[in-house]
Amino acid sequence: MLHLRGQFRKFLPYILCSPALLVLLAITIMPVGYLFYTSFCTWELEGFRPVFTGLANYKTLLFRDSDFWHSMGITLMYLIIGLSLQFFLALGMALIVNKSNLKLQGILRTVIIMPMIITPVVIGLLWRVMYNPTFGTINYVLRGVGLIDQSIPWLGQTSTALLSVIIVDTWQWTPFVFLLLTAGLKSLPVEPFEAAQVDGATQWQMFRYLTLPFLQYIILVAILFRGSDIFNTFDLIYILTKGGPGTTTQSLNMYGFYHMFSWLNLSYGASIIVSLLILVGLFAAFFMKILRVRVV
């Protein structure tokens, strides 16, 4: 009896994990396997069937496809600028709101999630119109305030296109990070802070040595999930710029999309997406390492 009980104990965590894991496994194992398999194939229109050819796609991709490397650069730039903008903006706002003891916090939170819940199709088109130099609201307001003399073609010039896309992404998803961080801040234990205050710690010290370590895990969640979303951003870029001007905003995901769904190069597209997955994996490993997750 006791022995059985011990056995049960040992397996209990696995049993608890199994429903969620089984569901995830059942949905993803086939598609992911298929993706990896096709990335090692050629898939011509004639006959329309994947034929195994080993590393051919990857060889072309890595050594002969300058667009691939260009898109990789764009993706990384998007990631670094977008993620840090969203993260620091959200962190700042979360700290301010948490500190100011605002009476209207409930309303604020409700209002702030609105960018996230408007349909993405509407958002993309709306921003596209707002950015328009001839009748867009942004230029109209900026001109009215006197910040600029002449309208700026935000999406139509190389220097501002990527930034403009990032701003929309930031507008839509900073609230997500903000909510995550607020939830984290709300669940901070009180005692260590009281103790620190008694010991005469400065604000900065409290933030650096108490708040940040306590938030570590939530920060990781925010960065990983936002990061992977940014890697996978598609519809927004497609509606705003289609990857242009030229290839200025053509991210890796976008490039893969064109190959798979516009040009029917299904296998070559698959190899691009697999490279993207490897890139995201590296990104995740990096952040897991520097933030030293406590749970695992």
Partner: protein, 290 residues
Amino acid sequence: MNGFNRRIKIRIEKIVLYTVLAVFIAFCLFPLYVTFRMSLQSPKDVWKNTFFFLPTLDNYKAVLLGLSHVGKASYPAVANFPYYLLNSIIVSVAVASVSLLLALPMSFAMVRYKFSGKNSLLIYIFFIKMLPPLAILFPLYVLFTKLNLTDTRTSLVIIYMTWVLPLSIWMMCGFIEDIPVALEESAMIDGCTRVGAFFRVVLPLAAPGIAATLIFNLILAWNEFLYALVLTGSHAKTAPVAICSFIYFQEIAWGCLCSAGMITVIPIIFLVIPIQKYLVRGLTSGAVTG
């Protein structure tokens, strides 16, 4: 003197803080204002840059009743928009609750038990989240066709798990971890079983975390577009896909698009308002004092 200076300093600090906050909120709300404004404009007014215009509810009427025209301008819009909105609500509520139910035991096990493979499990889950939908869309479509599941709400609920469930698990891990083990242990000393302690101590304490997770799940499922587009037809279509119908080859029905956009915000706001209160309450502080 010193106190006076400090008071001024605090006041200035406050003014700065509020200003920053106001700018941030304005940044969040400005595009929403533009959407709202457009949703009240007749087709002809949409492109006038004048500040004043005659607001009209024609767009809302057209979208909610499925009319084929706004005022006199003809826009053969979708008829069943309210039905698609209902689809969206059903799917996202189902996704949010199912994934929470699946995530809770797993997160609990991840945090409270030591077992081999834990680390790789967490990474595996994240890996699933980061799969680009585009990449697995094609095989999934084939799979769902074989299973005869295309154009059902069930198929959407299943597929949305791929990124809603990982987020739920990761978030719940964080929230459960913040609950001191000591509380559970004392409950067990009082005669609770481990499972009993989970229900009596962990669950109530994790309520704010659960609320937060639910909100995020709802939001993430609410706006999904790509899967819904490919996997549904006329039956299980969700609001984002239906809104798409306001875009024509060569022309966009702006008024309808924006009013539909505003309308999709409303149900989620109503779902979120009762839940979000839980976010306000502190977690462990409440437990210790109470």
